[in-house]
Symmetry: C2
Subunit: 154 residues, 2 copies
């Protein structure tokens, strides 16, 4: 998207790549994933796998559905991702006894222990970001409101 101001002009200006906020988000998101990559390589994780582990470090076990709600990902993405985390020995997948539709994701000892190795990563990313704490707080807030509005829009 462009800003309201610029899009309102209606002309070809609105289609200029460098005016598009969405492209800025798309680029920033990929740049962040790239910045994480060498750090996460030390843990043997990809960025989406790291996000799933973050959720499990907060509380485990969690069902695939709960994980999907936290991350905004569906089973088409999570099922193979969790299978890879299981192959790495970080989680265990187990059918729920009370509701056999559900699959609970448990942390293994190795999975739980990995959080210690991950604890320094947020600070290293914040350092690499080159923004003040206030700017990062505001950015997170603005992005959160934007995400909510975009989800509500369709």
């Amino acid at each position: 998207m462009t800003t309201s101001e610029e899009a309102r002009t209606g002309g070809p200006e609105a289609l200029r790549l460098n005016r598009q906020v969405c492209f800025a988000m798309y680029s920033a998101s990929r740049a962040a994933t790239a910045a994480y990559r060498p750090m996460l390589e030390e843990l043997g994780l990809t960025y989406p796998q790291y996000l799933a582990m973050l959720v499990l470090w907060e509380a485990a076990p969690r069902s695939v559905r709960e994980l999907g709600e936290e991350l905004g990902l569906d089973s088409g993405t999570l099922s193979p991702l969790l299978k890879r985390l299981e192959a790495l020995g970080l989680v265990q997948r187990r059918r729920s006894a009370e509701d056999e539709r559900r699959v609970e994701i448990f942390l293994t000892d190795a999975g739980a222990a990995l959080s210690a190795k991950a604890s320094g990563i947020p600070q290293r990313l914040a350092d690499a970001a080159g923004l003040t704490a206030a700017e990062l707080d505001q950015l997170r807030d603005t992005l959160g409101r934007l995400t909510n509005a975009l989800h509500a829009s369709h």
Copy 2:
């Protein structure tokens, strides 16, 4: 990442998903792509294909390398994407005569004409974003500085 402030605490707080600015970017970027999807479906394009067309609408022909520099994508992503745009009849790929390593991407008449159908999309997205023009401008600026800093960090 979390904000510098929060990461500095060092404790498990730093690993909380809802504190992570990078997760907010990752979510917002996917939400934006999802909001574009129904609009781009009318054009028969995916979001990355739309980005490539935006660049070509600004100036064509462009080499694969130039496109890659504008979009921050490598040939591994662009080669198949451009082949699909060619299959849709929107672009033509042609070996450069002066430098046979280069492949120039030309707009076809249909590709050039498509920009008219795309002209309303930025405004529709801006409306869906629910942010003021000033907030969108600031967001774009902050994301741009963040992207530059992250690229410089490794």
